[in-house]
Symmetry: C2
């Protein structure tokens, strides 16, 4: 019922790198679809993302057989399949914890909503912030976490609190039933098994850029 081709070979969790590339494939496929294309080959898809064509086929084959020999991949069909695989063929209610500058920016960020992630609750421990309204949502104290998470069936949280508070708040999130944390605080969170964390550290990324620029004296390519 869910896809027209053969089923996935196994129920193993894909390696991190594969999942990341699948997100990129999906984005590029949507781009091709908007251009009116209907099929794409692994070579074309790979070239547009600077990824080897065998890698594209192998990544996709991890989840099942989606291609047509001699033809390539049907774009519309592959988009639907990848959305299902990534779990973004439905909406994800999202809690945003920490309404500092970064938090407020995340709230306004369009990229989340357009991928099915809806921020449905705001939390902050600062009494100045509690009760304030941003984008139609009222900031609640962390004490309200358990109730709101349960009522709104929230499984994911974006964490944009200061580094010192991050682990403590993460513990609360876990206790209140959150299953996944997108962590913007510059600390390595420790969470129990069964809870997922993805870290987004902007400074680490910028430091990497500085390193690359410093170690590139013209002529060598580092387009990664």
């Amino acid at each position: 019922m869910r896809d027209p081709r053969r089923d996935p070979p196994a129920a193993k969790v894909a390696p991190k790198a594969v999942v990341g590339r699948v997100s990129l494939y999906l984005r590029q496929l949507e781009h091709f679809e908007r251009q009116g294309r209907t099929t794409v080959s692994s070579s074309q898809l790979g070239e547009s993302l600077s990824i080897n064509n065998a890698q594209v086929r192998k990544d996709l084959a991890f989840f099942g057989q989606f291609g047509y020999p001699g033809v390539g991949y049907r774009i519309e069909e592959l988009i639907a399949a990848l959305r299902h695989i990534l779990g973004i063929d439905h909406e994800w209610p999202l809690a945003l914890v920490g309404l500092g500058n970064l938090g407020r920016a995340l709230l306004k960020y369009r990229g989340f909503r357009s991928r099915g992630f809806h921020i449905v609750a705001l939390f902050d421990n600062d009494p100045e912030k509690v009760g304030q309204t941003f984008d139609g949502l009222t900031v609640e104290p962390l004490e309200a976490l358990r109730k709101t998470v349960s009522v709104r069936m929230v499984r994911l949280a974006a964490l944009s609190v200061p580094a010192e508070a991050a682990q403590r708040v993460a513990d609360q999130l876990v206790t209140c039933g959150i299953h996944g944390i997108l962590n913007f605080a510059p600390v390595t969170l420790s969470v129990p098994s069964g809870v997922s964390v993805v870290a987004v550290d902007l400074s680490v990324q910028l430091e990497h850029l500085a390193y690359k620029v410093q170690n590139t004296q013209g002529g060598i390519s580092y387009a990664g």
Copy 2:
């Protein structure tokens, strides 16, 4: 002159994964230093970050010999060495291009400045934005890019423009002498060799989190 231990073994560019971990080591070392500690072993440093101790030693050994057998690493000394290696022992002037919600958040984000990255110029193509002042900086049109980049010796740019504009603006940045781009737009940029790009795609990260949560039925650990 620059560090008290033996010099690096070679001048090769470190793999991406190594550089990312070195940023994490540095952050954790700074944390230990604030706690008043003076030395740390690879096991202790690794444990605090969920990284194997052999990996810690190997990563550091890539850049030189910093440790003392039987003692570990002297924290103050290692911090200085890693700052130098990452190229953040000096300030990096940074241009911010695109003053939408995300751009304005990046401008206010403290994490950059505290790591030595100073936003010194703002650019946007929107006539509504040009001339406006944010945090004491006036938004300039992209036509002013070349002059400002050269006058202020800017080598790095954070790019937070809409996806449709990203490649075009990136081309301009490169033409005007930018050497490194921190790309927040959800597209894969194509740049000439000698120019570095680091992509930060918040939706990709959130999709990864959704995938992990969806594929974790309690009991299995995914603390990555």
